[in-house]
């Protein structure tokens, strides 16, 4: 399977610059997920890779072979579309075998391949039906099957699960994850859903406003986001952000904001030596805020007004107010909180992420 490399690839529509020049590498046999809010350029990136969109400048390489001038059919790729893009006038077997029939592969081999893939996806009994006679989930499988029959080196997925209902989406996600392990292929997957990205991707590329914000494993993105956007995008419920100013007191670094003063990790202190008085944004994940009573002695204390509790079964989300800002807290569902009162919470200083207020980069 080839290594795919974007070399300062740029995309403009007329005078509108959608994607400024960027580099991106897709390792051999890796499942890469491009994730970001809509309009971030992830689909355009995938479509340039597929050959459905022209590259304005720069070059895409498969190993060392430039491919941006090649037609989609010459790139050895298969693609699954968001709306499945099945051919409505062909039955399922014909849909799946279309590419092979165009290549004039022997009928016997085609039948064999189609049946093998249909078996694998459990759509054997649908082969004689038309796409219009299938449910959404079945169509999704057929679309997947059509890509698999091709046996291409690279699979592209353009939000393949977003048209399914939540339950089916979860099921298909699991199946995709299983399929990823059995297939030795390059896979590039586009989604706006960070849960899909985290569960499926070997490597996740977070994009926003046409720029690659950060790439790495799910853990890396969650544990050490490089900027405020990634911290806010990855993880659910989302990270809480609070505005604060830094100040130093007896060798320790504190962040003071509206109605709170939090001690920050000593590990940060060195790099922040010169930053006393600087405006920052604090990023605090809902899962790191603990009830004050359970907290170790050296943790940072904060007083929050408990507005309401959302019971979600395995855990609870507590919505609190810090001044005018909403702060979400994730806790065990057994924990009891009184609503409508101020309560004491604690955060381990090393769990507080500090971002520059202007550049939004992590400090």
């Amino acid at each position: 399977m080839p290594n795919i490399r974007f070399d300062s690839v740029e995309k403009c529509y007329g005078t509108v610059k959608v994607l400024p020049p960027f580099d991106l590498d897709f390792e051999d046999s890796e499942f890469t997920v491009l994730v970001g809010p809509s309009g971030c350029g992830k689909s355009t990136t995938l479509r340039m890779l597929a050959g459905l969109e022209d590259v304005t400048s720069g070059e895409i390489y498969f190993d060392d072979k430039p491919i941006s001038h090649l037609e989609p059919k010459d790139r050895d790729i298969a693609m699954v579309f968001q709306d499945y893009a099945l051919y409505p006038h062909m039955n399922i077997a014909k849909n799946m075998s279309f590419a092979l029939r165009l290549q004039k592969v022997q009928k016997k081999i085609i039948d064999e391949k189609v049946h093998r893939v249909a078996e694998m996806l459990g759509i054997n009994e649908l082969l004689n039906r038309k796409p219009g006679e299938l449910s959404g989930g079945q169509r999704q499988r057929v679309a997947m099957g059509r890509a698999l029959v091709r046996d291409a080196s690279t699979f592209l997925f353009d939000e393949p699960l977003s048209n399914l209902d939540a339950k089916l989406r979860g099921k298909m996600r699991t199946e995709l994850a299983e399929m990823r392990n059995t297939l030795d292929k390059n896979m590039v997957y586009v989604t706006h859903d960070q849960v899909e990205a985290m569960t499926l991707g070997d490597r996740i590329v977070v994009m926003a406003n046409g720029l690659v914000q950060q790439e790495g494993t799910a853990e890396a993105l969650f544990e050490s986001p490089v900027n405020k956007f990634v911290a806010g995008f990855i993880g659910s419920p989302p990270t809480n952000f609070l505005e604060a100013d830094l100040f130093e007191e007896s060798g320790l670094l504190f962040a003071r904001g509206e109605g709170f003063s939090l001690r920050l990790a000593s590990a940060l202190k060195d790099s922040l030596d010169t930053l006393s008085g600087r405006a920052v944004t604090l990023g605090i994940r809902p899962s790191v805020i603990k009830p004050g009573s359970e907290a170790p002695a050296d943790s940072a204390q904060i007083s929050l007004y408990v507005k309401l509790c959302e019971y979600l079964g395995a855990h609870k989300v507590i919505v609190t107010m810090c001044g005018l800002h909403e702060v979400m807290i994730e806790s065990q569902s057994s924990a009891r909180f009184e609503t409508g009162v101020e309560a004491q919470f604690a955060i381990a200083p090393e769990d507080i992420m500090v971002f520059d207020k202007n550049t939004e980069l992590r400090l």
């Binding site: 050959g51 459905l52 059919k73 579309f81 051919y87 409505p88 006038h89 279309f98 219009g132 059509r146």
Partner: protein
């Protein structure tokens, strides 16, 4: 009257004016025509004075050489124009279904011929076909070819009116085909590109099959229309030379006005009506079949 029966009557009361117009404007003339087709009726007579002769108009028409000739000309004319117009119209649509500069201007120009009044089209083409001052023969002469007797030779006349009709009505097919093309699912076309289809293969395997329902209806509409064409040919050749361009509607109009046989003309109209009715019913049944198939598919999906 109780409110209940009032409310049951309401829809019919609203429909009544339209139904009245339908009866007066549509059914009455048709009934009149059907009745007239059983008469030996001269325009100088009142309809009450005409002799009732049963089906004799119909039977004598079947044996009438000129009528059969006219029917042949009509069928030949219609089949050639519809097939050619479909080929050119769909071809143009496939060619112009893209985003290039000035395409909307080009599309507007293409549909201009359809908007010109038929009489004007006939006059225009008659001048262009004029043996000495017409633009075609002037060009031929400039290039050193023999002039062609466009409208005066019975071998050329049919071809000439066919060309004019194609010029006028290809745009109709073109806009409908273009609309059908542009409503095709874009992602299916992209999928076919990834599956390795070339431009031609896309057209043959994806575009044309998906456009087919629209194309069939378009073709039938055009066929029905082409059976009724009158003005353009009337102005250009008036059916001549000989009977070479005398299509049915022209024959009907001449039978009524020149030969003064209103009964025969009515019988002829009824033959044409039957022919068109058959085509319309075919179209209707086709649509019904499509609808029924879609309904059963929907049901299958909902149950599944």
């Amino acid at each position: 009257m109780s409110t209940n029966s009032m409310s049951r009557m309401t829809p019919y009361m609203f429909l009544a004016p339209a139904a009245g117009f339908m009866i007066v404007g549509l059914l009455y003339p048709i009934g009149y025509m059907i009745y007239a087709s059983f008469l030996d009726w001269n325009p100088s007579q009142l309809i009450g004075e005409a002799d009732f002769i049963g089906l004799r108009n119909y039977t004598s028409l079947l044996g009438d050489e000129s009528f059969r000739e006219s029917l042949t000309v009509t069928l030949k004319f219609s089949s050639i124009v519809v097939v050619t117009e479909m080929l050119i119209g769909v071809g143009l649509a496939l060619l112009l279904d893209r985003n290039i500069r000035g395409i909307s201007v080009l599309r507007t120009i293409f549909i201009l011929p359809m908007m010109i009044a038929p009489i004007v089209v006939g006059l225009m083409w008659r001048y262009m076909y004029h043996p000495s001052v017409g633009v075609f023969n002037r060009i031929l002469k400039d290039w050193g070819f023999e002039p062609i007797p466009w409208l005066s030779d019975s071998g050329w006349a049919l071809a000439s009116i066919i060309i004019a009709d194609i010029w006028q009505w290809t745009p109709f097919i073109f806009i409908l085909a273009l609309a059908a093309l542009q409503s095709l699912p874009r992602s299916a076309l992209e999928a076919s590109r990834i599956d390795g289809a070339s431009g031609w293969q896309q057209i043959i395997h994806i575009k044309l099959p998906l456009m087919l329902p629209v194309l069939i209806v378009t073709g039938l509409l055009r066929l029905i229309d082409s059976f009724k064409v009158l003005e353009v040919i009337l102005v250009m050749t008036n059916g001549g030379p000989g009977l070479s361009t005398e299509i049915m509607s022209l024959r009907i109009s001449r039978t009524a006005s020149e030969f003064r046989e209103l009964g025969v003309a009515a019988a002829m109209s009824n033959y044409l009506l039957l022919l068109l009715l058959t085509l319309t019913i075919i179209m209707f049944v086709y649509n019904k079949i499509i609808d029924a198939r879609e309904a059963s598919v929907r049901q299958a999906v909902e149950e599944g």
